[in-house]
Symmetry: C2
Subunit: 431 residues, 2 copies
Amino acid sequence: MNKAAHQVVVIGAGFGGLECTRALSRAGVHVTVIDRRNHHLFQPLLYQVATTSLATSEIAWPVRHLLRKRKDVTMLLGTVVGLDTEGKRVLLEDGGSVPYDTLVLATGARHAYFGHDEWEPFAPGLKTLEDATTIRRRILLAFERAERETDPEKRRALMTFVIIGGGPTGVELAGTIAELAHDTLSGEFRNIDPGTARVVLIEAGERILAGFKPELSAYAGKALERLGVTVELGRAVTECTADGVTFGGETLPAGAIIWAAGVAASPAAEWLGVPADRVGRLIVEPDLTVPGHPDIFAIGDTAHVEWQEGRLVPGIAPAAKQQGRHVAATIRARLAGNDAPRPFRYKHDGDLATIGKRAAAIDFGWIKLTGWIAWWIWGFAHIYFLIGLRNRLAVSLSWLWIYFSGQRSARLITQGDEDEASDRKGAPSAG
Amino acid sequence: MNKAAHQVVVIGAGFGGLECTRALSRAGVHVTVIDRRNHHLFQPLLYQVATTSLATSEIAWPVRHLLRKRKDVTMLLGTVVGLDTEGKRVLLEDGGSVPYDTLVLATGARHAYFGHDEWEPFAPGLKTLEDATTIRRRILLAFERAERETDPEKRRALMTFVIIGGGPTGVELAGTIAELAHDTLSGEFRNIDPGTARVVLIEAGERILAGFKPELSAYAGKALERLGVTVELGRAVTECTADGVTFGGETLPAGAIIWAAGVAASPAAEWLGVPADRVGRLIVEPDLTVPGHPDIFAIGDTAHVEWQEGRLVPGIAPAAKQQGRHVAATIRARLAGNDAPRPFRYKHDGDLATIGKRAAAIDFGWIKLTGWIAWWIWGFAHIYFLIGLRNRLAVSLSWLWIYFSGQRSARLITQGDEDEASDRKGAPSAG
């Protein structure tokens, strides 16, 4: 480590943190990337791990490998527990600390239960590889249990899958679970017909894909119904238990519940003691610095950034990457002696969501697309944004296989199958 | 389920159990396959998951899918806890039971610590996908910790990897870990040089690959040394702790320890109360039936079967498959009215072991091969025996990628990284 160089510390190796690190190449600074995971996760495809379409290693790459050629970058596997803004140090769980001149908070989000954390064991969210393998196990186990269940009512409950939250993740999960049940598992059971499984998508608001144009929401709703998904609108969930979910005063017994309804930022605001919004995002200045801390930036899901008409910059990968690049440019400008604030302006490239393997909804602003052509554009876009030729080949192979054979390759129940009861209480999972 | 048909119950969907089930196609029987896992595991390549070369889903397939076209087969996900040989029923953990006319015990093996089960948390063995991801995590975490360790002695300990047991699995693990350290991770760390990692293979006997011809053992030893592996012969391990391993009175501090020294059969002998050998294998009759139970067969790692010169049939996939076919043929013969005992005769096709990605040792009896040509034969043989075109393509892609780029695709540290201490005490792992 070049001790004389300006020290930039980036916390979080997600889309924003990695892009900022990339954009600081040859900036004459030393960058330290800290993450509690050794891998960068391609979160837009995480739902495909949860629904047995992709293997864990197809959407995750060791950060150390991605940055191997950057001798100006140090990667640290570690958990941040606080900040010493006086001494300008990042404090780690193991007692160590890392000094910084400029700090970039790109710590991401976890799912939030809006004051009902007790629901988490029954309705896991989808943010990490472990979340995905937990959900995968629960979905597959529900079918296995239904196969051995003789009580028709209990069997029906086991074969009911509830997804809470009608954003892109909820829509994509619901569509893929419906395909898994109705196509992939078809003919493999002797006592049940997986085709009779119910997939219910619950959205408290008036429409799914609320961030999209209304006509695309309507299209997605119809496409989901064609796949056999029941879409329930306008009623909020009031209870999740081991047996099912209550919404609008009605209780629906379920074999697996997935939470796709909300996220909360990581505790960066608590580390700093600065204002945050309702879900914990730091309310940053227009130049993405933290108020009162011009040497600290927050980006991606960690930052609350106004966009237009009272809307916020959305929590999607392109937004985080734009912010990462903006911060890197600001650091370069400052090192060149230009300290004038540089406000961040978000450029929205579009909205994309898939519904199963035949339909997608795309809004690029100048053009709206639906149907199979949108699906292929969605597919190529995601392949393109994957890191590395090898992963592009592997994911292409997996998708072509699913597309033509209907067969999914990662139908593994790992860990927890001997004691799902303890798992429901929150024990770790495997994949 | 056709209640009138002869009911065959196969416990275990490994190589033996699946092959028996296959060979019973159109035999006029109904087969129930019971396994506590939903997947068949291609164990010969499990060490490649542990060493980041392959993804979990590349070597595991849902049993239900493999048997989907066999309407005469029912697959049950369940854990067997005992047998009622009077009532001819298999007893399941959940209180259920499954009736049988003929029972095939193909329950496989776990690793055994020869009376030192307290070593297991420190020296995990390699039998399940979870074992593999646990070992993978420990190896990768040891490098991450070494990167942050400032004490040279502790750093050296973290970068020491010990494999106990010089059979094919131990040799393959040692060779691949050496390649991982010396090639794959090269240049990715800033404070350590992974190339200085030590890989030590400890074998209590006088040579590694003791089941092979002596010249192949010698070749494998040399090939390992070329990869930088230290082979320690003739000294047994007397202690495993969180800090390292003691053998021949000497203590070697280590960052990760892997147990490849011994297996024990599953508790089938206990269910039956019949004689078993030292490691729990049922001592069966020449026709593979359990003494006193002509309607119960034991195959694969569950059975102790004499071969030649006092040697036993080895615990490898081809042997289990031959036994599975033999039992199926016996069941067919009996149904045709021929009750004469049909002794099983093992045909040994050969011995294979790889050492890294450039060398292998093969003994087909009529020809012995070493070097790169043996490696390619080994590779094609394993691709051939994988189930399904999709997996053959995926594994071929993974191997070609490693072969030409040196890069491995599944370098994931999942679960447990926040609390490895509790993991060392035996908590579950993930992949």
